[in-house]
């Protein structure tokens, strides 16, 4: 019945009208094959074709019969009322392409869903359709093309509006930074506490290690000696005579840290083998007034006094022993029967020897 009505009322006006009229005929003939008619209709506008074909397939998939085809409805009504596209476009203040796109339900040519719904409502009002709301409801909420931007989910929308990079804002990495700083602080604290035993370590090394260390350290020190050569000719002389001794003279700090160098330690190592109920004897002969302080392995001070010139002192202690001897030039020390040369341990300016004995 509709076919007849349309055929009767068709007004051969503009070419747009005639084109669409043909289409109507085609649709009515094979109304179920929507896909086949659409490309034929859009032959004149090639750019339409792909999207149009996709859309029609989509509508078939989702069951086009269930949702009213608002574009077709508007188109039919327009033909029935004898209006052409140009007239409608003028009344709705839209372009003719947009009206065509609405009737063809070609969403790629139309703006976001809200506008499309508005257009359909206005169009339906213009045609004084009674099922306006039904038609508007049929308009999909989003276009297939809308992906990120016009998402229905507000949080996704706002994510699209968030800055990709913002200076001064750490976010998750900011927390990582805080954690890293705290960790570094802890590690540094740990190292600080580790460091003191490490400094002490050379005193407690056994023979084998000492040999290795002295070798490596003397290698390092040799470089230092070369550097200081022009400055102190006496040092260079002594270095040529006794390399380990010069180390002590030129690098007192190094000597303080690593006093257990080969010359004194080698004899110590020999005598250490003799069991002496764990204790070793020290014999001092003072040719000058000298202040002496000795700590034993337990950290207990076993001797701390000023010894006057010309006296002698003998003391026993459990090695390793840590000694501080003032006026070292005026003191001769015998450790377990062996003479210990204090010169390598003596700091140049204040003549104080600090070292340990095993």
């Amino acid at each position: 019945m509709k076919d007849n009505e349309i055929d009767k009322k068709d007004m051969p006006g503009t070419d747009q009208n005639s084109v669409s009229d043909n289409n109507i005929g085609a649709t009515q003939e094979n109304s179920d094959q929507v896909a086949s008619f659409r490309p034929e209709r859009l032959e004149t506008i090639p750019s339409f074709q792909t999207t149009q074909a996709n859309l029609s397939i989509d509508s078939e998939k989702t069951g086009g019969a269930a949702t009213p085809n608002f574009g077709q409805r508007l188109h039919d009504e327009r033909i029935r009322r004898g209006m052409n596209i140009g007239e409608v476009a003028h009344r709705l203040r839209l372009s003719e392409q947009q009206i065509e796109a609405i009737e063809a339900q070609d969403f790629s040519k139309l703006p976001a869903a809200v506008f499309l719904r508005g257009y359909v409502r206005n169009y339906a009002n213009l045609l004084q359709l009674d099922d306006t709301t039904l038609l508007v409801e049929a308009v999909p909420q989003s276009r297939p093309a809308d992906s990120v931007f016009t998402s229905r989910n507000p949080s996704q929308r706002f994510k699209a509006m968030e800055p990709v990079y913002q200076s001064g804002r750490g976010g998750r990495s900011g927390w990582l930074l805080y954690v890293a700083v705290i960790l570094v602080a802890f590690v540094a604290y740990g190292f600080y506490h580790e460091e003191i035993p490490e400094k002490m370590a050379p005193y407690m090394l056994n023979e084998g290690d000492q040999v290795i260390q002295s070798g490596s350290s003397s290698g390092n020190d040799q470089v230092a000696i070369d550097l200081t050569l022009p400055l102190s000719p006496t040092a260079s002389v002594s270095s040529s005579v006794a390399p380990p001794a010069s180390v002590g003279v030129n690098l007192p700090s190094a000597a303080a840290i690593l006093p257990a160098l080969p010359a004194p330690s080698a004899p110590v190592a020999d005598t250490a083998k003799a069991p002496d109920n764990g204790k070793k004897s020290l014999h001092f002969v003072f040719s000058k007034d000298s202040w002496v302080k000795i700590k034993d392995s337990n950290g207990q001070i076993i001797l701390e006094k000023i010894n006057s010139r010309g006296t002698e002192q003998t003391i026993e202690g459990e090695p390793p022993l840590y000694l501080v001897i003032g006026n070292a030039a005026g003191v001769s020390l015998t450790y377990n029967g062996r003479k210990v040369d204090l010169a390598p341990y003596t700091r140049g300016n204040d003549d104080v020897a600090r070292f340990s004995l095993e």
Binding site: R93, A112, V114, V136, P154, R157
Partner: protein
């Protein structure tokens, strides 16, 4: 750090975030997860006790108070504390908001105060914005964010505000008409004229008094507007019979008024709106202007329900005009969407300092 937890993490479990459209005519509250839970007229009925300078107490708010509007005895006043989109009476507004929030979010044990997004007219001054913010804090909000009404309206109308295309919104509210062009989540141009539904009512009252010599009330004027009011001459002429007090005789009389007369009465406020829209189009950068010309503009707010107002603007500007779905609730729905971004730096909230 603890502050961070209590503000966002724990707070979201124990409090309800809400969006409020504190409008001149109606106040709407949207609660996250519940939708629009309150839609009441912004009217407060106050009872005075003990003569002038005596105690004032809130008698009713909302719908019940609106029914009292213009029908109150001496010791009760029904007032609308919002005027032209902004606060006219601070204390009363604060109390009204407090009552509405209590209705929407009944206080429970261990419930934290809500975080609130409130819409403000884009033309409001710093003082007016601060007043609204303070009123919300006074009503028990924990955190208050302000959002400009056209921005909220555009969000609520589902416009693609975050895309690099120009969207034009015309929001005709009770007290103000907001015109804005929005692109990339920000307001490119906005203007607010203090013409809205209230001005339409006033225009109708004045017209009838002038031409008929009959005094009608605001409520009657609103009924006339919503029944037969139109913004553009249509094909059919509709009539309504209303009653008012004859000024000459002093006796209530009944009379009939037609839609064409109302159209004439509304000409002046409608012209203001049209010129605001035209100014906005003039001020819009050309690229955005071309987007608007292609897509048209969107109307929201109660004023958009005036018959043929889209037609009027369409004819005046030559651009397509569409009316958003459910225009009355666009602003509060948009503010509700903005609630979701209260913790994100997307910059859609207005600054008042």
């Amino acid at each position: 750090m603890f502050n961070f937890l209590s503000n966002n993490f724990l707070g979201s479990y124990f409090s309800t975030d809400m969006a409020v459209d504190l409008g001149t005519a109606n106040t709407l509250i949207y609660v996250r997860g519940h939708g629009i839970v309150l839609n009441e007229p912004s009217v407060v009925a106050i009872r005075h006790e003990g003569g002038p300078g005596g105690k004032r107490m809130i008698l009713q708010v909302g719908q019940a108070a609106k029914q009292m509007l213009g029908r109150t005895p001496g010791n009760i006043t029904a007032i609308r504390p919002m005027k032209d989109g902004v606060i006219a009476d601070f204390t009363v507004t604060e109390q009204m908001l407090k009552q509405f929030i209590r209705k929407a979010h009944p206080p429970r044990l261990f419930s934290a105060n809500p975080r609130i997004v409130i819409s403000v007219p884009c033309g409001s001054t710093q003082v007016e914005r601060r007043a609204i913010r303070e009123a919300a804090y006074g009503a028990g909000a924990r955190k208050v964010e302000l959002i400009e009404e056209p921005m909220a309206a555009a969000l609520g109308a589902d416009l693609p505000v975050e895309t690099p295309t120009g969207c034009m919104v015309v929001d005709i509210g009770g007290g103000t008409t907001e015109v804005a062009v929005i692109s990339l989540g920000g307001v490119v141009y906005s203007n607010s004229v203090r013409v809205g539904g209230d001005r339409f009512d006033e225009a109708i009252i004045n017209y009838i008094r002038r031409n008929y010599g009959i005094m009608i009330g605001e409520v009657t004027a609103e009924i006339i507007k919503s029944e037969i009011g139109s913004a553009y001459p249509g094909s059919e002429v509709r009539e309504i019979e209303v009653k008012g007090r004859n000024l000459a005789e002093g006796i209530p009389r009944s009379f009939t008024i037609s839609s064409n007369e109302i159209l004439e009465a509304l000409a002046e406020p409608l012209n203001s709106i049209v010129s605001a829209v035209k100014t906005a189009l003039e001020q819009t950068p050309p690229e955005l202007g071309s987007d608007i010309a292609e897509m048209g503009m969107v109307m929201t707010g109660g004023g958009a329900l005036l018959r043929d107002i889209d037609r009027l603007i369409m004819e005046e500007t030559g651009l397509s005009v569409i009316i958003a779905d459910d225009p009355l609730t666009c602003v509060v729905r948009g503010a509700g969407m903005a609630l979701d971004s209260i913790d994100h730096p997307v910059g859609i909230f207005a600054r008042d300092y």
